[in-house]
Structures are given as C-alpha cells and as structure tokens.
C-alpha cells in the first residue's frame, strides 16, 4: 500500500507545473543573490569633511579616510552649517570636522581637535560608520605620532596592544556566515509550505475523502506525504552545497553526514508542522497564512540574522521552542567550524523533541472520521 501512495506523491509532484521549478530555482536564487544583496557589511558611506585647518596634515587625514574604501567623499567645505544641511537632506551619512590647529597639535601631541558626527537614521550604517571613521582617525594618529607617541606611552605606562584574532571566519566575511543560514531558510520554506499545501489541496479537491473511506492508515498517509519532500530536500541541500563551492569556494568543514542528519531531523519538524497546520485548515489561504506566521517568527528568533545571545532573557527562553534555532546552530557549527555530530548533540536533541511532538500531533489530529 505504501509503495502505491509514494508513487502517487512523486508523480503528482513532478507533474505540478510549478513545484519542480521552484525546487530548482529557489536554492539558486538563495545562494547566488542573497549573499551579495542582503549583506551586513557597510560600504559607500557618504562623507563630508569640514576642514578648518587646511594643512598638509589635514589633507593627509582625509586621504587616509577615503582610501579605506568604505567612504565616498562628497565634499570638502569649511562651513559646518553647510555640512549639516547636507546631512539633513540625506546626501551625506557622516561629517568629519577637522578643527583649526590640527596640524600643529599633531606635532606637539596635545590631542587632536577632530569631530565626528553621524546620521543614525539607519542605525546599523550609522554605528558601524562612526566606528570605521574613528578607526581611521586613530590609525592616522598612531602612524603620525609614531616615535613621539611610543616614547610618551613608554613614560605613561604600558601600551596594551589588543589585536583580536578571528577564528573560523578569519576575514569576517559575511557571506561565509550566511551560506549555512541560507540553506536553513531554503529547507524551511520548501518543507514547511509544500506538505501543508499538498494536504489542503486534497481537501479542496475532495480527493482526500476517497482516501478516508479506504482502509489507508493515518500513519501511512502522513509518512507517504513526507517521504517525497525528504528526497527533494536532499537534492536541494546538495545543490546549495555545490553552488557554495562553485561560486564562493566554500566547502563544508565538517562531515556531510552531519549536514544530512540534521536536515532529516529538521524536515521532520517542518513537515510535521506543515501537516499539522493543514489538518486544522480548510483551505490553502488559511494554511498559507498560519504557516507564514510561524516561519517568520522562527526565522527572526532563530539566530539566523541576529545572535540569540544578544536577545533579552524572555526572548532567549522562547528560542528554545524554535526548531530553527537548533538547526541553524548545528549547520553553522558543522559548516564553519567542522563540528562533529557529538559536538552539537544538544541541537539534535532539540530537533528530535520538537519533531517527535509535531509529527505525533499531526498523525493523531488527522481524522479519517469526523
């Protein structure tokens, strides 16, 4: 009986005008477009400089800032009000004010009359921009003062040189960080929505009744609905890994078995949830909206975009019920750090618990008899 039901699901999947194409196109777009487009690195910060000093020193500082590649110099002016107007009109993001006597004080070492003003309407851009800018100024001061500062520092005590060393992602490349997360998102979207819409589709067409009046067991029905999505998802994950390797040269540091094991567990959760929702909805719209609701919350609260550890206490507690938290964490650990399955056993345990619950609930709530 199982054989025939699985056969049916596969035939229907491949005959659907949309689904096979989505499965091919979706991972490609996820892997090739998002790492470039949805990027947390801040570049192209528009800068205006108010230079009241007009010495070699000040123009050297300006050059230092612009050659970093993060800033785009819009204008050098001498009227601070003009610079402020430019910021008000949103043509610049940051103002660097170089006070009079900058060149002189650089020589005497009296501290530098430099001001930084940043537009923080876009919080991320603002705060990162001001950091970059002050880094530039600091570096300039250090290189300038050179021996003077070193001797002065020697007199005032020890110089603490805190140079962080980055592990696992040495260049702090946002793309490396996002690739496993994008796989997580692609898998969640496909396995969450497809099974839900599938069952609701059978409800709408009335074909589900023909099965309900037959001796098909509930478990057979649900599991046979899930198996095709397992196969499809493996294909999709394989494709994502291949694209990551071809396009970015990223390879999974840990074992692929680990990736696939966690994917199996995660599908159990999302497909179980999808089936569960479809049991309680009468039409595709309902199922879509409810699924959308959950998937959005899962994603935003999963640590995929923002770290779980920086969430407030109450939010962190909620994330323990979020399957995506475990899957994203495991995928990143395996992909970036090369963790073994034993290293991330708690993620497996979390997924297994939530998945078991969702699937059992889906099977028990599916009623052949109303």
């Amino acid at each position: 009986m199982w054989k025939y039901l699985i056969e049916k699901e596969f035939k229907q999947f491949f005959r659907d005008p949309m689904l096979p194409r989505i499965v091919i196109v979706f991972p490609i777009i996820m892997m090739l477009v998002f790492p470039f487009a949805a990027n947390m690195e801040v570049r192209n910060i528009n800068l205006v400089v108010v230079d009241n000093d007009r010495t070699d020193m000040s123009s050297e500082l300006i050059e230092k800032c612009t050659e970093s590649g993060y800033f785009r110099l819009k204008k050098i002016c001498s009227d601070p009000r003009e610079a402020q107007r430019m910021m008000d009109r949103n043509t610049v993001d940051a103002i660097l004010t170089i006070g009079q006597g900058f060149g002189k004080s650089a020589v005497t070492g009296d501290g530098f009359p430099v001001g930084i003003k940043v537009n923080t309407v876009n919080g991320t851009k603002g705060s990162i921009g001001s950091q970059y800018l002050s880094n530039c100024v600091m570096l300039f001061m250090q290189s300038r003062a050179g021996a003077d500062v070193a001797s002065a520092a020697g007199a005032s005590g020890a110089v603490i040189d805190a140079a962080p060393k980055y592990y696992y992602n040495p260049y702090m490349d946002y793309k490396v960080f996002m690739v496993p997360a994008l796989i997580v998102i692609a898998v969640t979207m496909v396995t969450g929505f497809f099974p839900a819409l599938n069952i609701v589709g059978e409800k709408e067409a009335g074909t589900i009744e023909q099965l309900n009046v037959s001796p098909v067991s509930k478990t057979a029905f649900i599991v046979c609905k899930m198996i095709p999505y397992w196969v499809i998802t493996f294909f999709m994950v394989g494709m994502c890994l291949l694209i990551a390797w071809l396009a970015f040269g990223y390879v999974c540091k840990g074992s692929l078995w680990g990736v696939f094991l966690f994917t199996v567990l995660h599908i159990m959760v999302t497909a179980g949830l999808g089936l569960l929702i479809s049991n309680y909805s009468d039409n595709a719209q309902q199922a879509m909206f409810i699924m959308m609701f959950f998937v959005l919350i899962f994603m935003l609260m999963s640590g995929v975009f923002t770290p779980v550890s920086s969430m407030p206490e109450w939010a962190r507690v909620i994330t323990y019920a979020n399957p995506l938290r475990y899957y994203a964490d495991a995928m990143r650990s395996i992909f970036l750090k090369g963790s073994s399955i034993a290293d991330v056993w708690y993620d497996a345990a979390g997924l297994l618990a939530i998945g078991g619950l969702a699937l059992t609930w889906a099977i028990t709530s599916y009623r052949k008899t109303s």
Binding site: M1, K3, Y4, L5, E7, K8, K11, Q12, R15, D16, A205, G206, T207, E209, Q210, L211, N212, V213, S214, P215, V216, K368, T369, S370
Partner: protein, 245 residues
Amino acid sequence: MENAIEIHGLTKKFGNFTAVDNISFTVRTGEIFGFLGANGAGKTTAMRILCGLSIPTAGGGTVAGFDIVREPEKIKKHIGYMSQKFSLYPDLKVWENIRLFGGIYGLSGKEISDKTAAILSRLGMEDVRDAFVASLPLGWKQKLSFSIAMIHDPRIVFLDEPTGGVDPETRRRFWELIYEATSGGVTVFVTTHYMDEAEYCDRVSVMVDGRIEALDSPDALKRRYGVNDMDAVFRVLAGRAVREE
C-alpha cells in the same frame, strides 16, 4: 441471509442543527436501495456515517456486519464509495488511478493489471488508458469512478448522486453498470434526485427534514399516494418539508 445494512435511531447534530433525526432502516443484501430526499434533507450526512466518515451523535447499527461506531476502519475494507464531488486524481492517468486504488485496497500487482484490463475493456476506455483523468468527459469520469469504487469487490457500494450533471442517455448507461454489479451480488446504496432513477431501485426511502418519511418499493409508494410516477410521490412528501435548503 443477514441484512447488508441495519440502522436504528441514527442521529447526527451539528450544534443546534439536527441534520439526521432518529432514522432507522435496513437494506437487504443484494438490493438496490434508493436514498431520496431534497437538497439539505440529510442524505449525504447519513451516508457519510454509514461509510465511517462521520460519527453519529446517537444511535448506531451495522454495515457489512461491522458496527458503525466502533469498527469504522473494518467497514472501510468492505465498502466502495463514490462521492458526489468527483474524487479521482485529475493529474494521474486513467491506469494510474486504477493502480493507486487497487494498491490502497491491498490488491497484488497481478490482480491490479488484470483489473485494469477488465475495467478498461468493460468501459470501452482502452484508448484513453494513458489520458489524464482531468481530460475525460464527465460521464466517463463517473463510470471510471464507479468501476474504481468496485475494484476490491466490496460487499456494499455507496453512490452519492453518481450521475449529477450528465444527460439522460449517459445516466441510463451508468445504470446498466449498476445492474451488472448487482448481478454479481453487491448491495447498492444510492442517493439521487432524479426520479426516473428512483424507478430503477428495488426499494426507496424518502428523507424529509432529516427523517425518513416513507420507505417501500417504488410501485408500493405510487399506490399508497395514488399517483402515477415517483416524481409525484416525491413532490407529495418533499412538500411537507419545513426546513429551508
């Protein structure tokens, strides 16, 4: 021989609404039993209970010898069901639908291919074996649907308005299939609102507002109400309805 269906005091309520109101009847093995009633009289609800798709609020009975409340899954092995909403898979081909339902009812691969050949030749549909069911005319779909409902040789077959929306000639041919089936001993339980079809039945019941108002052979009913055809019988009885559609 025992009765195919025995029902007593069957009631189904949805909230305050009583869809089926304390009905009792028996269907003899091998007969064609017509289950008539206006739209909204409760026919489909009652039929869904008999098929194990719905649990009654009160009352009970047996279908094919199994209890409708306690053993619905056992009933499902021995009945065929054709719903008024056409329910084969439109995106599967004709032979694939036959194969799927054959497989679901536990037929072996060999039985399935034998059945497929037999069904296609009986319906004269060998040429459309590889056509998608969605592309077939309604009359063909209904005949195919009926044959698939019979694929596991059930003891009872339930037909819920099987001939809705097709012309009289197609309907007549459909009934030939039903007669062929009963000659093999199967019990047919059929709902319809075509009164010419009611004449084909061995016995009919007429449901009004969730209750069975009359149950007898078509001839006996016509005599009782002093009219010439089932149409008139139906109008007399259905005229008593209080409930709106």
